[in-house]
């Protein structure tokens, strides 16, 4: 085990360019479990914990910038995030337990690309842009293009996540929902996790954004349902049709944590609650 310990972002990118097979480490809450299990023997680790960069949360008029090295605990309690991006605050508050949220970072969560990443559905409905940087420069990746599969991202060798940019709404949605479903409240890995935003105008759906985690190899936006509902009134039959369409949007599996049937049922229930009138966000 060799540790590379850059003192700033520039040094981190130079070192990562020279050692592209090194494993970047932020809070280490996942990586250290693998290390303790003997699964990282002989690997190089790029420890980012000394960086002062990428730790800020900044609100601009049209967007929020959240540094990759911000911990979940920091994000969940940030007044701006609580007010403008409440689903992200709730998602970060649902991660692990306080010990994990004090260490685990948003950037680390994204780079890990777990199908069950709790922050992803919120970032998906907020249509976050992931800022990736390398020694050669930087680019932004729409969140829907970041994940290539289970534990796989589209980051290129030498690229690190510097943060995310989240566009802010001109018109706040009328309803919003975040739900994480697991076997207990703390420390659980999600059976299903969902985030949704709904804009209604004159009794009709202006826009729905609905994203689900833990029910496919990567986080999924329910694109067909979102399209189906545009301009429709939320009658009982329209809500039920939407819920029935969920099966085409996701591919939940039976595994150690849950079953396909349960996950589908839970996701339908969350969508139904979001769409049904009388439900507040």
């Amino acid at each position: 085990m060799r540790v590379l310990r850059p003192m700033n972002a520039e040094e981190a990118l130079t070192l990562y360019a020279e050692h592209p097979s090194a494993l970047p480490m932020a809070g280490g809450t996942d990586l250290m479990v693998a290390f303790n299990g003997g699964r990282l023997n002989g690997r190089e680790v790029l420890d980012l914990s000394a960086l002062k960069e990428w730790t800020d949360i900044e609100f601009l008029p049209d967007r929020a910038r959240i540094g990759a090295l911000c911990t979940h605990a920091r994000i969940e309690s940030h007044p701006g995030v609580l007010k403008r991006l409440p689903l992200l605050a709730q998602a970060c508050a649902s991660v692990g337990a306080i010990q994990i949220r004090n260490r685990g970072t948003l950037g680390g969560n994204l780079a890990n690309a777990s199908p069950a990443g709790d922050s992803f559905p919120a970032l998906a409905v907020y249509e976050a842009q992931v800022v990736a940087v390398s020694a050669q420069g930087g680019r932004t990746i729409p969140i829907r293009e970041l994940f290539a599969g289970v534990k796989k991202t589209t980051l290129q060798p030498g690229e690190l996540i510097a943060g995310v940019e989240v566009p802010l709404f001109k018109r706040e949605p009328q309803r919003a929902v975040f739900r994480k479903v697991g076997s207990r409240r703390a420390q659980t890995i999600s059976k299903a996790v969902a985030a949704g935003l709904l804009w209604v105008r004159a009794g009709k759906v202006e826009e729905l954004r609905f994203a689900l985690g833990s029910v496919a190899p990567t986080v999924r936006r329910a694109a067909k349902i979102e399209e189906f509902l545009r301009g429709r009134a939320l009658s009982e039959s329209v809500v039920e049709q939407s819920c029935a369409m969920l099966e085409e949007e996701i591919s939940p599996i039976d595994d150690v944590r849950s079953t396909r049937a349960y996950r589908l049922g839970v996701c339908r229930g969350i969508l139904r609650a979001l769409l049904s009138s009388g439900q507040k966000g």
Binding site: M1, V3, R5, M25, G28, T29, M32, V33, F35, N36, G37, V45, D47, S49, A50, A73, G96, A97, I98, Q99, I100, N102, R103, R185, A186, Q187
Partner: protein, 182 residues
């Protein structure tokens, strides 16, 4: 790179050795602070909870190189046998400790919660201790212990741990001096 300097219970310490040694092992083996316990070794159970810059973390999933320049507190800094912290007193009186393995972690997670002015209703305490498992399943006693400690701390406004100087409660502290025994 092979030297990591940080404070432990208020005292500056230098560690020399493998940079990827777990903070848990450095505390127990190098510094002989065996109050910190190993439970699951994968960040699930909270037995190895210590405070890093005042916040509860799992020492089993922190590489020692990551604490360079930072402040670590272990249960050894909370109180002494002759001068127990309110939480320790309450755990004794309410039966908050059974086998004791989870207790140091419970105490520190609870200390951080109370220091931050966290709520002391049952739900809030259970949420604050959600990352700490008690396999004797003594949760009801533990929650009651924390509530009792909050009571003990409240009327006389005594401080709630070694570095609570910023909290409003400790502003009224009588100042019990340095309790660091590391």
């Amino acid at each position: 790179m092979n030297k990591v300097s940080f404070t432990v219970n208020g005292k500056k310490r230098d560690y020399r050795g493998e940079p990827f040694k777990r903070l848990l092992d450095v505390l127990r083996e190098d510094f002989r602070l065996t109050g910190v316990k190993e439970g699951c070794g994968e960040g699930e159970c909270g037995a190895c909870t210590v405070l890093l810059d005042g916040k509860p973390v799992n020492a089993c999933i922190i590489a020692v190189c990551q604490v360079q320049g930072r402040a670590v507190e272990t249960v050894e800094s909370l109180g002494t046998p002759t001068r127990l912290h309110a939480l320790q007193k309450a755990f004794l009186e309410e039966g908050g400790a059974q086998c004791g393995i989870c207790t140091p972690g419970m105490l520190l997670a609870a200390a951080a919660h109370l220091r931050e002015g966290g709520k002391t209703d049952e739900d809030s305490i259970r949420a604050a201790l959600g990352g700490n498992l008690c396999r004797c399943t003594g949760y009801q006693h533990i929650v009651r212990s924390v509530q009792k400690a909050a009571e003990l701390l409240r009327p006389r406004g005594r401080d709630c741990g070694a570095r609570a100087a910023k909290s409003p409660r400790s502003a009224r502290s009588s100042g019990r001096g340095k309790r660091d025994r590391s």
